[in-house]
């Protein structure tokens, strides 16, 4: 009896210590998942993104089929079926940036973050769990959106004007590139949200980074700007799905993918640092 307890105690604690890191990770993931699932904006934002992107892209494609006879030969020759189909992502990316930002700023807004940090003092773990779930949600929803966008858009173009299929060279890569861009944008939004801690600041930054900054700077293409402007997150992302990349103001797809990864990593490190160092 006595020996049993003595033997049992180190054995149990030994066994308890080993899975605890794994258990803790699983518990953090579960907790984050429940919080995400019950957040209304997690459903509203991707749904709105899908309706806006697919609906508007289909309308634009239909407009091209209607206006095709008014185009001159040069416009017809320069027509890029995938570009006109995916142009709407310039707007679509905002939904994903905001989605990521709201995951964390919502928690700061209602004060839940203090309970979260008290329950899981390993703040890095919390951010890792959030990152994993945001990647999962953004990847799934952007894949659905991009393929729906592509299939319906090209379906509308087909028969009237030039169109492409997934089997054409490079096309699948550009569709996957768009999915990658939208997922990266949601991570950039998440990390901006962690750094900003307020929905207002984070959303302003997301719109600033993905919409206003390129609008202000894209007209500059001389001197040092030629080596800066293509590396804005929005321009790197556009380089992943637009044609004519690697020339002029857009980086090549490989550089663009690496550049986006670099942005995500830099912001992720900053976000981790700021989450661990500051009060909630």
């Amino acid at each position: 009896m006595m020996s049993e307890t003595i033997q049992a105690t180190p054995a149990t604690s030994g066994r308890r210590a080993a899975p605890s890191a794994l258990l803790r990770a699983r518990a953090a993931l579960c907790a984050e998942w429940i919080k995400l699932r019950s957040l209304r904006s997690m459903l509203v934002t991707p749904a709105l993104a899908a309706v806006v992107c697919v609906g508007y892209a289909d309308y634009l494609c239909w407009r091209y089929t209607q206006r095709w006879h008014t185009f001159d030969a040069a416009s017809k020759a320069g027509f890029q079926p995938l570009d006109v189909n995916f142009n709407v992502l310039v707007i679509g990316v905002l939904f994903f940036g905001v989605l990521g930002a709201l995951v964390v700023t919502n928690e700061y807004g209602n004060g839940l973050i203090r309970a979260t940090l008290a329950a899981t003092p390993q703040r890095g773990l919390i951010l890792a769990a959030k990152t994993a779930l945001v990647v999962l949600i953004a990847l799934l929803s952007s894949a659905v959106i991009c393929f729906a966008l592509f299939l319906t858009g090209q379906g509308i173009l087909a028969g009237h004007v030039p169109h492409v299929t997934l089997a054409d060279p490079g096309v699948l890569g550009r569709v996957l590139g768009a999915i990658f861009y939208l997922t990266a944008a949601s991570l950039i939004g998440l990390f901006i949200g962690v750094i900003a801690r307020s929905a207002a600041v984070a959303m302003t930054c997301v719109f600033g980074v993905f919409l206003v900054l390129p609008a202000l700077l894209n007209s500059l293409n001389g001197g040092a700007w030629r080596h800066t402007v293509p590396y804005l997150p929005s321009n790197l992302g556009d380089a992943l799905w637009l044609s004519h990349t690697g020339t002029g103001s857009l980086a090549s797809p490989t550089v663009a993918a690496l550049g986006l990864v670099a942005w995500v990593i830099v912001l992720g490190v900053l976000a981790t640092y700021s989450l661990r160092r500051r009060d909630a």
């Binding site: 310039v90 700023t105 207002a200 202000l216 001197g223």
Partner: protein, 274 residues
């Protein structure tokens, strides 16, 4: 008899006192929220720095520009283009001036203290507009002078006394003020920060991009009737093209959006719970 005589002057005095009290309480709320000074500071960085960057770029690259782009170059608009970035922050400030109070629940205390809700929001808008207008007009002038000093020399530049220039520079401050008011009234309508911000940025920034994607004449025709495309005419010197309104006509478009949002806000404010 004497009591009745005493009532009349007291009521008229209390109206004045009430206005003064509302103005004071709104002013205290405005200046004690941290985002106010932060936003004003951000605009103070964005406007001059953008003027410096853009005007420096064009003055350096002036010789390489084509005659057509030299002719369509608008020295006032380029030096004030920072407004396109600053409007994000000023608009967001307008939104959170109202939604911040709804989030913290302070709005219930405010409406109990002053049951005249329209008066509260009107005073809030007035104080917001006065501060933002004064500050942004100042920055608009600063950005203009920074820009023109950089453009002088080879590039096209103008003096403050040239025709239309003073309107455009004052227009920069007016534009930002009205963008902020649009945010403020949308905040009253939606009451939640993310929703109101998304609506404001959607109308202000996303709609022009969406209209631009249409291509063809219809894009230009529609763009001038958006708050952004119309309102920006006020701080442009050149109003070229078949589909651009003049400075004040364009600004009237933005003012109409603000008026519509204000009308809806005052209507709903009386009918809804806080």
């Amino acid at each position: 008899m004497s009591a009745q005589a005493g009532t009349a002057p007291r009521t008229s005095a209390s109206l004045e006192t009430r206005f003064r009290a509302t103005a004071r309480s709104e002013w205290i709320k405005f200046r004690s929220v941290r985002s106010g000074p932060a936003v004003l500071l951000a605009t103070a960085v964005i406007l001059p720095v953008t003027a410096w960057l853009l005007c420096g770029y064009y003055s350096h690259n002036w010789a390489t520009m084509s005659p057509a782009s030299q002719a369509s170059f608008d020295p006032v608009f380029i030096s004030l283009r920072g407004i396109e970035g600053a409007q994000l922050f000023v608009g967001a400030l307008g939104v959170i001036t109202v939604t911040g109070e709804y989030t913290s629940g302070l709005i219930r205390g405010t409406f109990i203290a002053t049951p005249q809700r329209a008066q509260v929001i009107a005073m809030k808008a007035l104080i917001f507009a006065a501060v933002v207008w004064a500050w942004c007009t100042l920055l608009s002038f600063a950005a203009f002078f920074i820009g023109q000093s950089l453009l002088s020399g080879p590039a096209k530049h103008v003096a403050i006394g040239d025709p239309g220039v003073l309107t455009a520079v004052f227009g920069g401050g007016l534009y930002l003020t009205f963008v902020g008011l649009l945010g403020l009234f949308i905040g009253v309508l939606l009451r939640r920060t993310p929703a109101a911000l998304a609506a404001l940025f959607g109308i202000l920034l996303v709609l022009p991009v969406a209209v631009g994607l249409l291509g063809g004449q219809i894009s230009a025709q529609l763009a001038q009737f958006l708050p952004d495309g119309g309102g920006e005419e006020i701080f442009k010197l050149l109003h070229g093209g078949a589909y651009t309104l003049g400075p004040w006509q364009g600004f009237a478009v933005l003012a109409a959006y603000v008026a519509a949002a204000a009308a809806a806000a005052f209507l709903l404010l009386r009918r809804r719970d806080a």
